[in-house]
Symmetry: C2
Subunit: 413 residues, 2 copies
């Protein structure tokens, strides 16, 4: 297998470090808009001293992810079988189309962006997450190539858990509820999110989407249906609220469940922070006019200023402490008896920093597409068209994830 990895940010870099220890692929070209960043990721593999000359399989390249034609050209020139998209969601569509054009498989960790309903944003869906991608479903099917979408941790592993529950743990499913929580803290900061505040605002203030059989997909106001979920492995109870997320769009396509939700364990303090930013209007992306420090009238996006006030989460790994948990809570029945389980995956930041030099949230996102690529390379997973992680048998994925040194768990509730 020859892989074109687009994006050498935190997740992309962690992907190279995880993949370097596996021998299922022949070549990985690491491409970024900033070629130096791609080069640094590749160079670090040699420095890591993995024991074999793994870095010989890697090469750095420059690419503009928004330029479909040049991405397709790079795929062809490097004879890549698959494009792995590790950029931010704004680049989903050009990379997705470039793969189709070049006859390559495609894997991403998010889906194309949503747009709220123009009149009833907190009741009805407008353009849903992934809609732009699924609009090309027939062309992908006809091409015989696979677009595996939403194959990170959430979406991704959470979807695999949903499929596993449907196949092995339940006869009927009332609700699939993805629940994400952490107890991460950052030394020296009162407030330092462990992930991009820009994206978090986008996720949390977009109308959350919910699926119900009969009703289909619908939206609610932000921060709806708060609940306190007790996370495993010492993380403990965290306040969770509905948030727009890809699983709600993917799971119902392949798994039979009466209801699908995603709740994010933001915690009371973080929810309060987002509410205040929204009330003051600091979440807005439309620019406001202010005087710059050299006395000019300039126009800046308030949300960019919020991001600029906070430390870059990618640089905080060394100061972070704690664990992050991704998982899928499932309620239903088995053999005529009610059952409730939570399938989960916990990463301790201390472990991921020591083992891979990547912070926990980033590493947890990165490991899953590598596992998926290995399953595709070995033929354990195969398919054509646009498929979510829950379209495939879950057991091979979960077993291979364990062999990557990263076990998952299950709690009967």
């Amino acid at each position: 297998m020859r892989i074109l990895l687009v994006g050498a940010g935190g997740v992309g870099t962690a992907i190279t470090r995880i993949a370097a220890r596996r021998d299922f692929f022949e070549r990985m070209v690491v491409a970024d808009y900033d070629e130096a960043r791609a080069g640094a990721a590749v160079a670090a593999l040699g420095a890591a001293g993995s024991g074999d000359p793994a870095s010989a399989r890697f090469a750095a390249a420059r690419v503009d992810a928004s330029d479909e034609a040049s991405v397709a050209e790079l795929l062809e020139r490097e004879r890549c079988d698959v494009l792995l998209n590790a950029t931010d969601p704004r680049f989903v569509m050009p990379l997705f189309r470039a793969s189709l054009a070049a006859g390559a498989h495609y894997v991403d960790m998010a889906m194309s962006l949503s747009r709220p309903h123009p009149e009833r944003p907190y009741e009805e869906c407008g353009v849903k997450l992934g809609d732009e991608q699924f609009a090309l479903a027939d062309r992908w099917s006809q091409s015989g190539r696979l677009a595996l979408v939403g194959m990170g941790v959430e979406p991704g592993l959470s979807d695999v858990f949903a499929r596993h529950a449907a196949d092995e743990l339940f006869d009927t499913i009332e609700e699939v509820g993805i629940r994400d929580g952490a107890d991460l803290t950052v030394e020296g900061y009162d407030f330092a999110p462990s992930f991009s505040i820009w994206t978090t605002i986008e996720e949390c203030l977009n109308p959350p989407v919910v699926f119900e059989t009969g009703r289909g997909w619908f939206t609610t106001p932000p921060f709806s249906e708060p609940e306190v979920f007790d996370f495993p492995e010492g993380i403990g109870p965290v306040e969770c609220v509905n948030v727009e997320h890809e699983e709600v769009l993917l799971v119902p396509r392949w798994v039979d469940a009466d209801r699908v939700t995603f709740k994010y364990g933001l915690g009371t303090d973080f929810i309060n922070t987002l509410r205040v930013l929204h009330q003051v209007g600091l979440d807005r992306t439309e620019p406001v006019t202010v005087k710059s420090s050299d006395g000019m009238q300039v126009r800046v996006s308030p949300r960019d200023v919020v991001a600029a006030c906070l430390p870059d989460p990618a640089t905080l790994g060394d100061r972070m402490r704690g664990k992050t948990c991704a998982g899928t809570w499932v309620k239903g029945s088995k053999d005529g008896r009610p059952r409730e389980v939570y399938l989960y995956h916990v990463v301790d930041n201390e472990w991921s920093m020591k083992e891979y030099g990547s912070q926990a949230v980033v590493w947890q996102t990165a490991v899953n597409p590598v596992v998926a690529l290995e399953l595709l390379a070995t033929g354990a997973w195969s398919g054509a068209g646009i498929l979510g992680p829950e379209a495939f048998e879950a057991r091979p994925f979960l077993d291979l994830l364990e062999r990557y040194g990263s076990p998952w768990g299950m709690r009967e509730q």
Copy 2:
């Protein structure tokens, strides 16, 4: 009396409207950095149709409040007896010095700014409010001229109340506690402060100062000693916290009290908003670098961006509803028996808008220096050197304030 009013913003404009109805002065020159703004304030007096040609006593001028020499020159050219400072506190020192240089009396509504203690900001005072002014006390005394400092509503009327309590209501005073609260709301906004957010952040995040006999002045962390104070005339209970304010520095100089505090009725929501802005670092004035909407790297002050996201409070008078209350709570004993009173002044926004076209908070600040000037013009008050409002007999002030159509109240607790 010939008055030079410097500053034709909200408070300055309200001063002209209040003064125009009084005949104790011969001339008022309204000077602003923006001469058009001064001109508009003067022109509006004619339009108001007060019945007599009051506006003939007024003139507009341009002045740079930071330019001591040109302010002194304007005082002399216009043969003004007194400078009334209605600018923001950054201009206290140049205007204060210009008055001394020109041999004019001086009245302001705030005092020179503080600087936190470099090592122990939340325990010890650094440079206190007014310190820079009081450093010139001897020169003012020798000049025979009066600098009446802190003569707005708070500080100002609140200090007059403290003196009144000491003179007529108490034998011994345990605590003088200024308490400020309001029930103002702004139609059409979730969050719209009725005063400058920039200044509010400055006031509320500076270390609050407290005075205690024996210990002297000391500071605490922001938002310390929260209490719910029940404000009169239907405003009701509001959460108040310690805030740095001039009364704490002024009252102990002339009134014998074991403890002096200032608590601001910000309310739970507003305190929460300020805490979040501080936590994220959006209260900072040091610039951060962001990309502007035309793609340039620019440096902007986060606090300026917060202000730019909110509506200009000076423009909100028509959409405001409710009342604002300034007052002084005093606890002590009279005739051997414990006593507690709250002396207060309430302005209803509907009334101040209808009567003067000024919103309540602005009008309440503006009326007090006009009353004080009238007392000085008639000789009811007189003095030399730097004095606070509590250095003068309170009764004439309180009686004259009533004659301005703005009664004060007292509640026995």
